[in-house]
């Protein structure tokens, strides 16, 4: 009778956890509170199953999948490199969506398989199967969308020794297809409510929602993936909330809609940081800029030359990007900063673009791992005015986030706020090639007279630069 009290405790722990998770000092506590809430929730559910709705007859059916799942999650989370955490979040998110969809499908299939099982009264039937339909739609859509997002974050996949790049494709008529699919899944849900014993409906829902999820993410470029992952995270919360309507569980409802709403707000916050609108990200047709032919060229510099420019520098601003994450060069970068401070008493700061890397806060995470003092990481808006007085701006594996093309009226980058690297006295760019970034636009910065290019892997190049600096 009083067992569901545990759900209230869990819900309160989730709310406190999320609240604390949004402040830097209390964040670790917040995560612990949320996980405690989850433990309470699972414990309450098990007690309720054992003593409330009849004893559990087959513990293996519960403990085996739970153990296997926990192991998979733990291994993935602990083995992942710090660079691939965004992909991992997207993958787990897909799992969550699939779980909700499967719960809904199992609920439907129960009536397909056991014809002797009486259907509930019309009202309950409408609520339960309507919720099951929506939970399945959103869940499957989240699964396929997340998997495609993982693929796009990775850049592609290697199969049988061949590399397949993640596709981005979306003519404007695709939006019409999306609308038609959205109508189709709603029609299928109505059909499911009318005739829950027909096995075709859950299967057709699976198929059409999966296609819908793929089509939703397919036209969106890799640079917008953080927004997409955040949106899918919000959707997986809503899917969980809908399963709450099926099994009448208050905690599923509360926790699901809590994540759904806060995830949506986070998505909007991210869009604002990129000066985009959510509808722009989702529905703008993808126009291929046929991988813009590079007509200009630039002679590469070497670490010794760069070390000379750095001689006696008073102020250096480091602008990290995805290249730093890929090469795991944050520790070498930190050594570089310390070396400068020691030798020339240089003031070193890090300029953090809100969407640098593959996730907001990606750079902060990496730099913090290398023990870079928090005060040295300055957000874009606060540091942009400091570039004219800065001797050297060192760009490490960043491209789009400092591309002046964003200041123009048109083009894929138009309107995105950028880091004003071009205003520094000297610019040093560590990059593997002159190739374009995610947005596929050539970068004027590389060709300026005051720019020196260090072509190569960021970790190797920074190592050589540190050596040259120490010897100079």
């Amino acid at each position: 009778m009083w067992i569901p009290f545990g759900y209230l405790i869990a819900a309160v722990l989730f709310i406190l956890g999320l609240k604390k998770l949004s402040h830097p000092r209390t964040a670790p506590l917040g995560n612990r509170l949320s996980s405690l809430g989850m433990a309470v929730a699972i414990g309450t559910a098990l007690v309720q199953m054992e003593f409330g709705s009849g004893p559990i007859t087959n513990w293996n059916m519960i403990l085996l999948p739970m153990g296997a799942g926990a192991l998979i999650g733990l291994v993935l989370a602990c083995k992942a490199k710090t660079t691939s955490m965004p992909e991992l979040v997207a993958l787990f998110n897909g799992f969550g969506g699939a779980a909700s969809a499967l719960v809904a499908s199992a609920e439907c299939w129960k009536f397909v398989e056991a014809s002797e099982l009486a259907l509930p009264d019309p009202f309950t039937k409408t609520v339960a199967f309507g919720a099951a339909g929506f939970s399945a739609i959103i869940g499957w859509c989240t699964l396929t969308g997340s998997l495609l997002a993982v693929l796009k974050l990775l850049g592609g996949v290697s199969l049988f020794g061949k590399w397949f790049a993640a596709p981005t494709w979306g003519p404007s008529w695709l939006n019409v297809v999306k609308v038609l699919l959205a109508v189709l899944v709603v029609v299928l849900t109505v059909a499911l409510v009318n005739d829950p014993r027909d096995a075709r409906w859950p299967i057709l829902l699976l198929a059409s929602s999966s296609v819908f999820g793929v089509l939703l993410v397919l036209p969106i470029g890799g640079a917008d993936m953080p927004v997409v992952v955040s949106l899918l995270n919000s959707l997986s919360g809503i899917a969980a909330a809908f399963t709450g309507f099926i099994i009448n569980n208050p905690l599923l409802l509360v926790a699901g809609s809590l994540v759904g709403a806060s995830g949506f707000i986070l998505t909007i916050v991210m869009c604002k940081a990129m000066n985009r609108t959510l509808s722009g990200v989702l529905f703008q047709p993808y126009t291929a800029h046929a991988s813009e032919k590079l007509t200009r060229t630039k002679v590469g510099s070497d670490p010794e030359e760069v070390a000379m420019v750095l001689d006696g520098a008073r102020k250096v601003i480091i602008v990290p990007g995805y290249g730093m994450a890929v090469s795991q060069s944050q520790h070498v970068v930190k050594e570089f900063a310390e070396l400068l401070a020691q030798k020339y008493d240089t003031e070193v700061k890090y300029a953090i673009h809100p969407v640098a890397g593959r996730m907001p806060g990606h750079m902060n995470v990496l730099l913090a791992e290398a023990n870079v003092p928090y005060e040295q990481m300055v957000e874009m808006d606060d540091i942009n005015s400091e570039f004219p007085e800065c001797d050297v701006a060192l760009v490490i594996g960043a491209n789009d986030t400092c591309n002046p093309a964003a200041r123009e009226e048109t083009g894929p980058l138009a309107g995105m706020p950028i880091i004003n690297v071009d205003q520094a006295q000297h610019v040093v760019v560590v990059k593997r090639s002159l190739g374009v970034g995610y947005a596929g636009v050539d970068n004027d910065i590389f060709y300026m007279n005051k720019t020196m290019m260090l072509f190569g892997d960021a970790k190797t190049m920074m190592g050589q630069l540190n050596k040259a600096l120490a010897e100079s």
């Binding site: 009849g54 087959n58 059916m61 519960i62 499967l102 719960v103 399963t243 994540v259 806060s262």
Partner: protein, 100 residues
Amino acid sequence: MIDPSLFLLNLTLFVLAIFLGVELINKVPATLHTPLMSGANAVSGISVIGALFGTQIVMQDDGRSVASLLAGIALMLAMANVVGGFAVTHRMLNMFKKKS
């Protein structure tokens, strides 16, 4: 016997929790966007509760093998989401903690 009161109660919880969620995440520093997303993602693994009850319903009768298989897979995936989500958030936050 049609009684919408339970549904209305559920709907009330659903709507109120949405309002709470909007208020909860108001000012978040960019640094915490990724950990917050990851932590919220772990919480959305609450569908593990749904999967648990799903397995119980099908356990009571042997004739529903497909449904029990679906619920079992759901339980596994939800658990991976929960455990992995919290663990990866913990790892991210640990990186911040070291600096102080």
